[in-house]
């Protein structure tokens, strides 16, 4: 028996969220005598870049270096993962929640006749049965979910376990598969993606601005603070609705749900729909000139003050500790 971890990569590196999934797999294997932890990567990426999966806990990496898999065609990825899963005789598949991961996992649940649990926030409790804690109601509650199938798929939320970094580098084993044409029925014609930016769903620190920023021309301060903190930038729904910022920066109930270590909100009042997107953050800092802003009730630290006065000082203070 073994645990297979489906890992994603972008711009030549394994995504950090995928490395967390590897560490989750390793912790699960240690806890349940679950055997070997095998990472699986699809598409073009170097062996050197893949070897890092070992430091996060994988004993080896299997690599399907098929250029047709470079674009994340959902059906094709699902088919490839299912083939390798069966080949290695795994009984559990672990992956990190993502745009592609979610879509692939759902098809795999049917393909592998597996019980799928998404938004997993902790290691399963296997003392009696197989119980998995997952986040529900957009972070407002948790559900203990019992999996009744022999095969399990766990789609893990960011920060569910600590990322391991001290393992030895893993060896990379090439696998070639034959993937039927019908799995490429949906064709990706182009992508439009920010390059070299820290991506919001994967960021450890997020700086978000709301209507209190008064206009898109004032986002320079948000971006500068984000740069100093190594953070991704986000925004509230009204801000993306009126087009001050692109839709993929919208944090909230119907936008991106983030789970950073630090979420810093500037000029956002904290409507319940916004809070639903940030309630998995470890620490929340709120800067708002209205002391009655509901966001302060959800915050760990706060400053009651005007963003245009506070932000420049905050940027200087962050620079000063570097």
């Amino acid at each position: 028996m073994s645990i297979l971890v489906y890992i994603e990569h972008a711009e030549g590196s394994v995504k950090k969220t995928s490395l967390e999934a590897v560490s989750f797999g390793k912790a699960l294997a240690d806890k349940t005598s679950g055997g070997e932890v095998i990472a699986l990567a699809l598409g073009s990426i170097s062996d050197e870049a893949l070897a890092i999966a070992g430091t996060a806990g994988a004993s080896k990496v299997m690599h399907v270096a098929d250029g047709n898999l470079d674009a994340g065609v959902i059906q094709a990825h699902a088919d490839a993962v299912a083939q390798v899963y069966k080949q290695v005789g795994a009984n559990t598949l672990v992956l990190s929640k993502s745009s592609l991961g979610d879509a692939v996992a759902a098809r795999l649940a049917v393909k592998l006749d597996a019980g799928l649990v998404s938004n997993v926030v902790d290691l399963p409790d296997t003392t009696g049965g197989y119980k998995v804690k997952r986040s529900i109601y957009t972070g407002k509650a948790f559900a203990e979910t019992t999996v009744n199938k022999d095969h399990k798929i766990l789609a893990v939320k960011k920060n569910a376990v600590d990322l391991l970094t001290n393992g030895p580098e893993a060896t990379v084993e090439k696998v070639s598969l034959s993937i039927a044409d019908e799995n490429f029925a949906a064709k990706i014609t182009s992508t439009d993606k920010a390059e070299g930016e820290i991506l919001l769903p994967e960021a450890d620190v997020v700086v978000s601005g709301g209507r209190g920023m008064k206009g898109p021309e004032n986002w320079g301060m948000i971006e500068e603070l984000a740069k100093e903190l190594g953070a991704a930038t986000g925004c509230s729904k009204p801000v993306s609705d009126i087009g001050w910022r692109p839709h993929h920066e919208h944090v909230g109930q119907t936008g991106v749900k983030v789970a950073p270590t630090l979420y810093l909100a500037v000029g956002i009042s904290g409507a319940i729909q916004h809070l639903a997107g940030v309630n998995s953050s470890k620490y929340i800092v709120v800067i708002n000139k209205d002391p009655e802003a509901p966001f302060f009730k959800a915050a760990d630290y706060g400053i009651v003050g005007d963003a245009f006065e506070v932000l420049p000082k905050l940027i200087e203070a962050v620079k000063a500790i570097k």
Binding site: I74, Q75, A103, V104, Y137, A143, T189
Partner: protein, 245 residues
């Protein structure tokens, strides 16, 4: 062309979430139920496609009798008829099997739903239906146009979007800004009362996963406020107390 939109019946986004029966059941008291916000986007786009292409539009919900007002609202927004699969939706695979069974019978060209429900947030049903029916399943879709047999879509990915093309039939999990939510008008509300709402029994499905207990997150402690003229203090707290810098 035949379009099916699958909708969930979920607590309003402003609801306070609470549980009863020793934390094993969702507490419905005082909670207003709505069409899932993502499903509402799917429905709005489907109504636009119906008008533009002369398609038929069926809405489907897997749920007990108390979900019928939600289905009636979808009829008021513009669906032609509704189907309720009479069963408590135990998990995603159960719901997917019900949708697949109905779809096999009626051979829809396009099956739309929200990217995820806002109660369990699984985001799996569209993919499972796709696999059960052997069709492409694309999610989360933020733009969808039908040109003859070809569907052109934009799908949200981390940090941007990708553009896709596929032939009908297919399944899409939708999100904003695919269309603007539609508010039912008086004529829609009146006509919804007499549109067909068919109740069918569920097909058998095993229980792959089931929820055995609910839990609320621990209450948040009170906020530590820092004076606006002493911003350095905030940075110190983040560095030394929270240890996040």
């Amino acid at each position: 062309m035949k379009i099916l939109v699958c909708i969930t019946h979920v607590p309003d986004t402003t609801s306070k979430i609470q549980f009863t029966d020793n934390d094993t059941k969702f507490d419905k008291s005082g909670v207003q139920f709505i069409i899932g916000p993502y499903d509402d986007y799917a429905l709005a786009r489907a109504v636009e496609l119906k008008d533009a292409l002369g398609a038929s539009l069926t809405v489907l919900n897997v749920g007990e009798a108390d979900t019928e007002p939600t289905l009636r609202k979808a009829l008021a927004i513009g669906a032609d008829d509704a189907i309720r699969v009479n069963a408590f939706p135990t998990d995603a695979l159960f719901v997917a099997r019900q949708i697949a069974a109905i779809a096999k019978e009626n051979s829809y060209d396009l099956i739309l739903m929200g990217r995820e429900s806002i109660d369990f947030n699984g985001g799996m049903v569209h993919g499972m239906v796709g696999e059960l029916l052997g069709m492409p399943s694309i999610s989360p879709v933020m733009k969808l146009d039908v040109e003859g047999e070809t569907v052109k879509m934009a799908r949200e990915i981390e940090g941007g979007k990708e553009y896709l093309e596929a032939k009908l039939p297919l399944i899409a999990g939708c999100q904003e800004p695919i269309a603007e939510w539609k508010i039912p008008n008086m004529r829609g509300i009146m006509s919804a009362r007499t549109k067909p709402l068919n109740v069918v029994e569920a097909v058998d499905s095993e229980v792959a996963t089931d929820v055995t207990a609910f839990k609320l997150p621990p209450a948040k402690g009170s906020v530590k406020l820092v004076d606006k003229d002493n911003v350095e203090e905030l940075v110190k707290l983040l560095k030394n107390e929270a240890k996040v810098l």
